[in-house]
C-alpha cells in the first residue's frame, strides 16, 4: 500500500524527467510514419491548389514564438505550396512579435523557388487594431498599409499595383494561437465573402469547428498534426513531420499517466474506505 500511496502522490520532478525523455528521444531518432490526412486539412490543401497561378494570397501571422512549434511548420508548408503553385504572397500580421517568424518562413521558401521581393511576395508588417484593419482592407488596403514593413511605398511593388481590396485577394490564411481566425471570419468573410483558411494550435482548433461545418472556413490545419498532414500532401516532410513522433509519445505518456494515477487513486480510496 505504501508504494501505491507514493505512486498516487508521486514527486512531480519524476514526471517532468520522464516527459523530457519521452519528448527528446523521438526527436533524436528518426521515425518516418506517413500520417493519414483528415478532411479539414485536405480541404485547405485543395483550396490553395486550385487557385489560378498569379493569384494573390494573404498569409496573416497571428502567432508568436510561444506557438511557433505548431504554427511555424504550417506557415512554412503553405508558403512552399503557394510558391510552388505560382501564387503571390502578401504577409501581414496582428502580433508584432510574431511577424519576423513569418518573414523567415517566406524568405526560405522564396529562396528555394527563386522568388523576388516585391514581385512575388511582400511583407506589409503590423498595424494596430486588427478589427479596423480587417474591415478597412475591404475598401482599400492602402488606407492601412501604405508602405511595407521597411517603409517602402506599396505602389512601388509590381505585385501590389492591382491589389486594392478583398476582391483582389483569392484566399487568406490566418495562422493563429488565439481568436484571430474567428475575427477574420466575422469581418472578412462575413462582410466581404473572403475565402479563409485557418492554421491554428491544437487547443484553438475545437473553437473553429462550427465555422468549418457552416463552410465559413474553407479548411483547417489544427496543431502539429495538421501541419504534418499538409506536409505529407506536399510530399515534403518538414518541422511538422519531424515533431509528430515526439508529440505522439508525449500524448501516449499522458494517457499512461492518467491511467496509472487513476488506478493508484482507486486502490488507495477503496483501501481507505474499507479501513473506516
Amino acid at each position: 500500500m505504501g508504494f501505491l500511496k507514493w505512486l498516487a502522490k508521486i514527486d512531480r520532478r519524476i514526471i517532468f524527467l520522464v516527459l523530457a525523455l519521452v519528448v527528446l528521444v523521438p526527436l533524436l531518432v528518426k521515425i518516418p510514419i506517413p500520417p493519414k490526412v483528415s478532411e479539414p486539412v485536405e480541404n485547405a490543401y485543395r483550396a490553395i491548389d486550385t487557385l489560378r497561378p498569379g493569384s494573390v494570397v494573404v498569409l496573416s501571422v497571428d502567432y508568436d514564438a510561444t506557438s511557433a512549434p505548431e504554427c511555424q511548420p504550417m506557415m512554412e508548408a503553405i508558403a512552399e505550396h503557394a510558391f510552388r503553385r505560382g501564387l503571390k504572397i502578401i504577409l501581414l500580421g496582428h502580433l508584432v512579435t510574431g511577424l519576423p517568424l513569418g518573414q523567415i518562413a517566406i524568405e526560405e521558401a522564396a529562396a528555394r523557388h527563386g522568388k523576388t521581393y516585391g514581385t512575388d511576395y511582400v511583407n506589409l508588417g503590423y498595424r494596430p487594431n486588427p478589427i479596423t484593419v480587417i474591415v478597412g482592407i475591404g475598401r482599400e488596403i492602402r488606407d492601412f498599409y501604405g508602405a511595407d514593413y521597411q517603409g517602402v511605398p506599396v505602389d512601388s511593388f509590381p505585385m501590389m499595383r492591382d491589389v486594392h481590396n478583398y476582391d483582389d485577394i483569392a484566399a487568406l490564411v490566418s495562422f493563429a494561437h488565439g481568436t484571430m481566425v474567428e475575427i477574420w471570419i466575422e469581418y472578412a468573410w462575413g462582410r466581404f465573402g473572403e475565402q479563409i483558411i485557418g492554421g491554428v494550435t491544437g487547443v484553438v482548433a475545437p473553437n473553429l469547428y462550427p465555422y468549418l461545418q457552416s463552410k465559413q472556413l474553407v479548411g483547417l490545419l489544427g496543431g502539429l498534426k495538421g501541419a504534418s498532414e499538409y506536409e505529407s500532401l506536399l510530399e515534403r516532410p518538414g518541422l511538422g513531420s519531424k515533431g509528430m513522433p515526439a508529440q505522439t509519445t508525449a500524448h501516449l505518456l499522458i494517457i499512461l499517466f492518467i491511467l496509472v494515477g487513476t488506478v493508484a487513486d482507486f486502490i488507495v480510496d477503496v483501501y481507505t474506505r474499507r479501513k473506516k
Binding site: K9, I10, R12, I15, L19, A20, I33, P34, P35, K36, S38, E39, D64, A65, T66, A68, P69, P100, Q103, E107, R127, P128, N129, T132, R139, E140, D143, F144, Y149, Q150, G202, A205, N207, Y209, P210, G223, K225, M244, P245, Q247, T248, A250, H251, L252, L253, I254, I255, L256, F257, I258, L259, V260, G261, T262, V263, D265, F266, D269, V270, R273
Partner: protein, 266 residues
Amino acid sequence: MKRRVPLVITFLAGVIIVVTFFIPHEPFGSLEQRLLIWASIIGGFAALLGIDNLIKHHLSKLFRRERGWFYSLVTLVGIFGTLASGIVTWIIYGTPLALLSGLKVGGFLWVYNWIIVPLQGTMFSLLAFFIASAAYRAFRARTFDALLLMSAAILVMLGHLSIGLVPALVGALLFALLLVTSGVYRLFLRKLAAGIILIVIGLAVGVLAVVYRGMMVDLAIQVKEWVMGFPQLAARRGILIGLVLGGIAMSVRLILGIERTYISST
C-alpha cells in the same frame, strides 16, 4: 461635459458604423473608412499609453524597493535595452527591421532571434510539463462526469497521435484499460450497474481494437472528427450564440449610453 462628450462621440461612432454596414455607398462608405483609420491610429497611441503606464509602475516599484523589485528592474532593462537596440539598428541600417541586424550581436533582430523567441518558447513549453503533472495528479475518474470528460480528451488525443498502427493500438488499449479499471472501482463502491457497463464497454473497446487493428488509424481519426464535429461543436455553438447575443446587448448599451463604465469606474 466630461461625461457627455464621450457619450455623444460613442453614440455617433456606433451609429455610423452600424449604418454603413447596411449602406456601404457614399458618403457612408468613406466616412466609415475614415473612422476605421482613426481607430487604428488611436490603437497605436493606446499602446504608447500602455508602455508609459508599465514603465511608471515598475519605476515606482523599483524606487520604493517593494517586494519583487528585482523583476521590475529586469522588465525595465528589457524595455529600454530593446528600444536602444532598435534605435541603434535604425541609425546603422536605415530600418530597425533590417535582416542583417540578426547577424550582429545586439542588433534588433538578433535580440528578437536570440532573446525574445527563446524566452517566449521556454515559457510556453513549460506548459507541457505542468499538463503532464496535472494529468497524473489531478485527472481522476471518480465521478461519471469526470470519466466522460476524460474519455473525450483521450479519444481526441488518440486521433491526434494516430500517425501509425502501434501508437493508435497502444492508446486504444490504454483507454480500454482505463474504462475497465473505472468499472472495477465502481463495483467496489457497490455501483453494480455502472461498474458492469463500464467493464463491458472497456473489454469491447480492447477486443475491437485488437481484432480491427488494421483499421485503427482511420478509426481513431474518424472518432476524433466525430467528437469534434458533433458533441464538441454543439456545445461550442451554444457558447458562441450566447457570447454573440451578449456582445450585441453590450454594444447597444454602449451606443445608447446606458453602459458607462468605460468613462469612469462608478
